[in-house]
């Protein structure tokens, strides 16, 4: 049975941290299963000092093609599928990032291989590989047995801590895809994030508004609490998508990663995509009416209650004249 292949997330000249998390996990599984670990980078040129950093893979591959210099999700998936189809690895490891979400299911679809998405744990029991996925907004875990055929895993970033640092693999080999179908997709440009009025990654106290705040009309209440605590208002994705707060206040997978001294979540359910951006906060406190909300699985302290009762009372108590 083949090897463990990690797809390096190489974008704009840098390898993403999650690649090293996957390499660390692959190394651990490889030791248990007696399989070697390979890593694959897709590019249009031999990147300086990238493939040379992708240890501790036993082998590093560079898939080289003139069309694959810029970010090109379909072309990357097709080139990777051609490479992987020849090799039939035991597992293909990628993650549920913007890169992995295009590539993982794409490869699975092109090759007819099973895909396991939102994977948060990988174990070996009696030589069977068992993956755990987080579904239903993190409220349910699905444990699956990896079949005896190549399988694509897309892991949630941050699932495999203790990432291994960069080091040089034994060798870097080049593989050039032949007959790649002409690109039907092209990168026009990168659009940089808008400048922020407030940098939520630097705030010590974050008061985080979730969909539970119900309407933009309730934002002043949340802002008042943040002021009273000397903190800053941040938000979950739906609050930002609704246009109630600017994008640069968003915490999570597609937002920012924060580690404040205090994260106070108000009506945030704690979906995996949100937790990805805040679970390492120093002190996590959550107020939510649903005791089963996944945010309570990472919170240090929780209040099962209505923010529209607790927040006004908290503000009242924090007012100087309230003493």
């Amino acid at each position: 049975m083949g090897n463990l292949v990690v797809l390096a997330e190489y974008l704009r000249g840098a390898v993403a941290d999650v690649t090293f998390e996957l390499l660390g996990k692959a190394r651990e599984l490889g030791n248990l299963l007696g399989l070697s670990v390979e890593v694959v980078v897709v590019s249009d040129r031999q990147p300086d000092d990238v493939t040379g950093r992708l240890g501790p893979a036993d082998r590093a591959w560079l898939i080289l093609h003139p069309d694959l210099g810029e970010f090109q999700p379909e072309g990357m998936a097709r080139a990777l599928a051609a490479f992987l189809g020849e090799r039939r690895p035991r597992l293909v490891l990628t993650s549920t990032t913007a890169f992995g979400m295009d590539v993982a299911a794409g490869i699975g679809g092109l090759l007819g291989w099973p895909v396991v998405a939102y994977c948060s744990a990988l174990q070996v029991a009696d030589r069977t590989i068992i993956a755990t996925s987080q579904v239903y907004g993190g409220k349910v875990l699905v444990e699956v047995e990896i079949p005896d055929e190549p399988t694509v895993i897309a892991a949630l970033p941050g699932s495999f801590p203790a990432p291994v640092g960069p080091s040089a693999p034994a060798a870097v080999e080049i593989w050039e895809p032949a007959g790649l179908q002409p690109a039907r997709l092209r990168l026009r440009r990168w659009v940089e994030p808008e400048a922020a009025d407030v940098d939520i990654t630097r705030a010590e106290i974050l008061v985080v508004a979730g969909r539970g705040i119900k309407s933009a009309d309730n934002l002043p209440l949340i802002e008042e609490l943040a002021r009273a605590l000397g903190g800053v208002v941040a938000a979950s994705r739906p609050v930002v998508d609704a246009g109630w707060l600017p994008r640069n206040r968003q915490v999570g997978k597609s937002g920012l990663t924060v580690r404040p001294r205090l994260y106070l979540g108000l009506g945030v359910s704690g979906a995996p995509e949100h937790l990805e951006g805040m679970k390492d906060s120093q002190l996590i406190v959550a107020i939510n009416t649903d005791r089963k909300a996944p945010i309570f699985d990472v919170a240090h302290y929780g209040v099962v209650g209505d923010i529209f009762e607790v927040v006004p009372a908290l503000i009242e108590r924090l007012r100087p004249e309230g003493h």
Binding site: L11, F71, P73, E74, A98, M101, D102, A105, G106, G108, G109, L110, P114, V115, V116, A117, Y118, Q134, V135, Y136, G137, G138, K139, V140, L141, V142, E143, E145, I146, P147, V152, R184, L185, R186, R188, R189, W190, V191, E192, G230, G243, Q250, K253, S254, G255, L256, R261, L283, V285, K292, D297, H300, Y301, G302, V303, V304, A313, L314, R317, L318
Partner: protein, 259 residues
């Protein structure tokens, strides 16, 4: 320019979800279904493109299943021109790859230039629909799309990365887009309009044959997560809760200027 929006029902995760007795699925007896929130975004983006005159029509399609009529009528009430229910004969849960195969077969008889669907659903642990559908149809696909503009035979899309970084990509049509967020929040369909359409409108149907089972990882069991560290709950009267919170803040040294 004909847009097709593929939508699906998912269990309402705001409600209680229980694991079925055999541990292989959630208990589907008493749950209510809602449209996948990202499909709502996909539908909104398609409707906006039609209203702006960038597209001519919006057709919604869904695989048959419990709660599907409701979401299709809701889509019509929001402004979709047509709704198609794909009849298949499979029992839930249907693996995403099988969904993609069924939909690809149904799309043969549905005119389309561009297909929209949600970036993910609460149930697609075996892969997201957009790339699987793209691979099944041999169309290009893009996941995590937050903006779409149509030009001659092209869709120009923004794909979102972490921290607000976006890639502007041009995609040759036909293509499949997995929509993360529409350019504006999804509209609301008045209940009276949905009720009216349930009496007057018809859902078209397309029948497809059962697909051979796709390889999938075998489910061992479903479970509720066990917290890695369980929160200490602050309970009691409102006053006690507030005092409890303040003492947590104080102990952590984050309470400044109090009293």
């Amino acid at each position: 320019m004909n847009l097709v929006v593929v939508v699906r029902e998912v269990p309402d995760i705001q409600e209680e979800l229980e694991v079925a007795a055999d541990g292989k699925d959630i208990d589907r007896t008493f749950i209510s279904f809602v449209m996948n929130e990202f499909d709502e975004q996909a539908l909104e983006e398609a409707l906006v493109l039609k209203e702006e005159g960038q597209a001519d029509s919006v057709l919604v399609a869904a695989l048959d299943g419990e709660g599907v009529d409701d979401i299709l009528y809701t889509a019509l009430a929001k402004g979709a021109d047509e709704a198609v229910k794909v009849i298949h004969g499979l029992e839930p849960p249907i693996p995403t790859r099988v969904r993609a195969a069924l939909l690809a077969a149904a799309l043969k008889s549905i005119p389309h230039d561009l297909i929209f669907t949600g970036v993910q659903s609460a149930e697609d642990w075996d892969g997201q629909l957009a790339p699987l559908l793209g691979a099944a149809l041999d169309y290009p696909w893009v996941e995590v799309v937050t903006a779409v503009r149509l030009e001659d035979g092209l869709a120009v899309v923004e794909k979102e990365f972490k921290g607000g970084l976006r890639a502007e990509l041009e995609v040759r049509l036909p293509a499949v887009l997995g929509i993360q967020a529409a350019t504006k929040p999804p509209r609301y369909a008045p209940v009276s309009r949905i009720r009216q359409l349930m009496r007057t409108a018809t859902l078209k149907t397309v029948e497809v044959n059962e697909m051979s089972p796709a390889p999938a990882a075998k489910i061992r069991r479903l479970s509720r997560p066990v917290a890695s560290r369980s929160a200490e709950f602050i309970e009691g009267s409102l006053d006690e809760v507030v005092e409890g919170l303040l003492s947590v803040f104080r102990n952590a040294g984050v309470l400044r200027g109090e009293g």
